[in-house]
C-alpha cells in the first residue's frame, strides 16, 4: 500500500451540509464491510458479484460526495463488463486495490 496516501484523508464534498452529515457518517462506517466484500469477490473470482458491488459503490460514493471513489469504482465496473484476459485481470487487481485504498482514506470528520 502507498503509505503516503493513507495519511491524506478524503472528505465528502457535502461536509458541513447539515442534511447530509448523518448519512455521510453512516456511509463511511459501512465502507470497511464494502471493502471486505470487494476483496472477497476478487479472491473468489466472483466477477459478476464484484461488478455489481463496484456498480453500487460507484452510485453510493457519488451520492455521498466522494467522486474520486465513485470514479475508481466505475473503472472496476467497466473492466468487468467484458470477458477478462490475463492482462485485464491484472488491471482489475490493480484497480480494486486502488479503490480499497481510496475507501480507507475516506472520513466523515
Amino acid at each position: 500500500m502507498d503509505q503516503s496516501k493513507v495519511a491524506e484523508p478524503l472528505r465528502s464534498k457535502f461536509r458541513g451540509d447539515a442534511e447530509m452529515t448523518e448519512l455521510v457518517q453512516e456511509f463511511v462506517q459501512e465502507l470497511p464491510s464494502r471493502i471486505n466484500s470487494l476483496g472477497g469477490f476478487l479472491r473468489a473470482a466472483q466477477f459478476d458479484e464484484l461488478r455489481r458491488a463496484a456498480h453500487q459503490l460507484k452510485g453510493a460514493a457519488g451520492g455521498y460526495g466522494f467522486p474520486t471513489i465513485s470514479d475508481s469504482a466505475a473503472k472496476v465496473e467497466n473492466l468487468l463488463k467484458s470477458a477478462l484476459d490475463q492482462s485485464q485481470l491484472e488491471a482489475v487487481n490493480r484497480e480494486v486495490q486502488e479503490l480499497v485504498d481510496l475507501c480507507r482514506r475516506a472520513t466523515a470528520e
Partner: protein, 322 residues
C-alpha cells in the same frame, strides 16, 4: 351531494422511487425532506409495477440499471397501460449516454436526472414534473366540466353512460337514467334577460347536485336540458327521487324574478335487473318519456319501467301539472 367534479384532495403529491440501491432511497429522502411530497420506496422493477397499479402515484422516479426487470422495461409497461400512461416518469440514472437518454424519452420518460444528484437540480426537476402532472389533470377534468353549471358536461355523460350501461349488462343490477328540461325556458330568457336564464340553469344544477346521492352522476346535456345517471336505482325509486326533485325545483324562489316560478319536465327510464339495452336505447327511452312529460302538460315526471315492457308513458303514477 352528487358525484360532481371535485378538486383533487389536498394531500401532498405521492412520489414513488424505484431503485435497487438502498443508498439512493436514503439520499433522496434526505434531500427531499423539505419538499411537500410523500415518498414511497421500492427496490425492484416488478415490485415497482405492482405498486404503481396499486397506489397510482403522482410521480415516479425510476432507476434504469436494475437487475431483473430493468428501468426501460418498467417504463415500457407503465406507458403501455392506459391506467398509468399519464403518470410522469423521471428517469434516474448514472448511465449518461445520449442513446440511453433518447431511448428513455422515446419510451415516454418526462425527464432525466443523472446520478449523483445535484441537489437544487433534483428539487426543481421534481417540482416541474409535479406541476406538469397537476396541470394535465386539471386540464383533463376541465374538459369534462360544464363551465356554466359546474356539472359534468355532455362529453363526459356520453362516455359515462356507456360505462354504466355496460356494467349493468355484465353484472346485472339496477340503473335509472333521467332527462330534465326546464319548462318555458325561452320565455325566461326573453322576459328577464339571459343573465336570469343563466341563473336558472345554475340554480337547477345546484338543486340536482344538492338533492342527489354521492353515487349519482349529474350532467348538463345541453341548452336547458340536464341528465342524471342513477346507478343501483330501480325504476320506481328513480321515479320517486325525480319527483322529489321536481317538487323542490317548483318551490324555489328566484331572486331575479320572485313572481315567476320555474318548473321542470322529467323523463325517467329505469330497470332493476340490467335490461339488455344499449346505452343509446336507454337514452332514447328516457328522452321519449321527457317528450311525453312535455306533451302531457309539463311540470311532471314520466317513467318507462324497462322491466315491464309495453308499459310506457305515465305508468305508474304520473303527476299532474302543478
Amino acid at each position: 351531494m352528487t358525484n360532481a367534479p371535485q378538486n383533487s384532495s389536498n394531500q401532498f403529491p405521492r412520489v414513488l422511487v424505484i431503485d435497487d440501491s438502498p443508498d439512493v432511497h436514503r439520499l433522496l429522502r434526505a434531500r427531499l425532506k423539505q419538499e411537500e411530497i410523500e415518498i414511497a420506496s421500492v427496490m425492484g422493477g416488478a415490485e415497482g409495477l405492482a405498486e404503481i397499479k396499486n397506489s397510482r402515484p403522482d410521480l415516479i422516479l425510476l432507476d434504469l440499471d436494475m437487475p431483473g426487470m430493468d428501468g426501460f422495461e418498467v417504463l415500457r409497461s407503465i406507458k403501455d397501460d392506459a391506467q398509468t400512461v399519464h403518470i410522469p416518469v423521471v428517469v434516474l440514472s448514472g448511465l449518461a449516454s445520449p442513446e440511453d437518454k433518447v431511448n428513455a424519452f422515446d419510451l415516454g420518460a418526462h425527464d432525466y436526472i443523472i446520478k449523483p444528484f445535484e441537489l437544487t437540480e433534483l428539487r426543481v426537476r421534481i417540482r416541474a414534473a409535479l406541476r406538469l402532472n397537476f396541470l394535465l389533470r386539471m386540464l383533463s377534468q376541465r374538459a369534462q366540466i360544464d363551465g356554466l353549471t359546474g356539472l359534468w358536461n355532455r362529453a363526459y355523460f356520453d362516455r359515462r353512460v356507456q360505462d354504466e350501461v355496460a356494467r349493468v349488462q355484465r353484472h346485472g343490477g339496477a340503473l335509472s337514467i333521467a332527462f330534465f328540461d326546464a319548462d318555458h325556458f325561452k320565455s325566461i330568457n326573453d322576459t328577464f334577460g339571459h343573465p336570469a336564464g343563466d341563473a336558472v340553469l345554475q340554480g337547477i344544477a345546484q338543486v340536482i347536485q344538492r338533492e342527489s346521492r354521492q353515487s349519482d352522476i349529474a350532467c348538463r346535456y345541453g341548452g336547458e336540458e340536464f341528465v342524471l345517471i342513477m346507478p343501483e336505482t330501480n325504476a320506481q325509486d328513480g321515479f320517486a327521487f325525480c319527483d322529489r326533485l321536481r317538487t323542490a325545483l317548483e318551490s324555489v324562489v328566484w331572486p331575479r324574478h320572485p313572481e315567476r316560478k320555474v318548473t321542470v319536465s322529467i323523463g325517467v327510464a329505469g330497470s332493476s335487473n340490467g335490461a339488455s339495452l344499449t346505452a343509446s336505447a336507454w337514452v332514447e327511452a328516457a328522452d321519449k318519456c321527457l317528450y311525453a312529460a312535455k306533451k302531457g302538460g309539463r311540470n311532471r315526471v314520466v317513467l318507462n319501467n324497462l322491466d315491464a315492457p309495453g308499459v310506457q308513458q305515465g305508468q305508474p303514477p304520473m303527476l299532474k301539472a302543478g
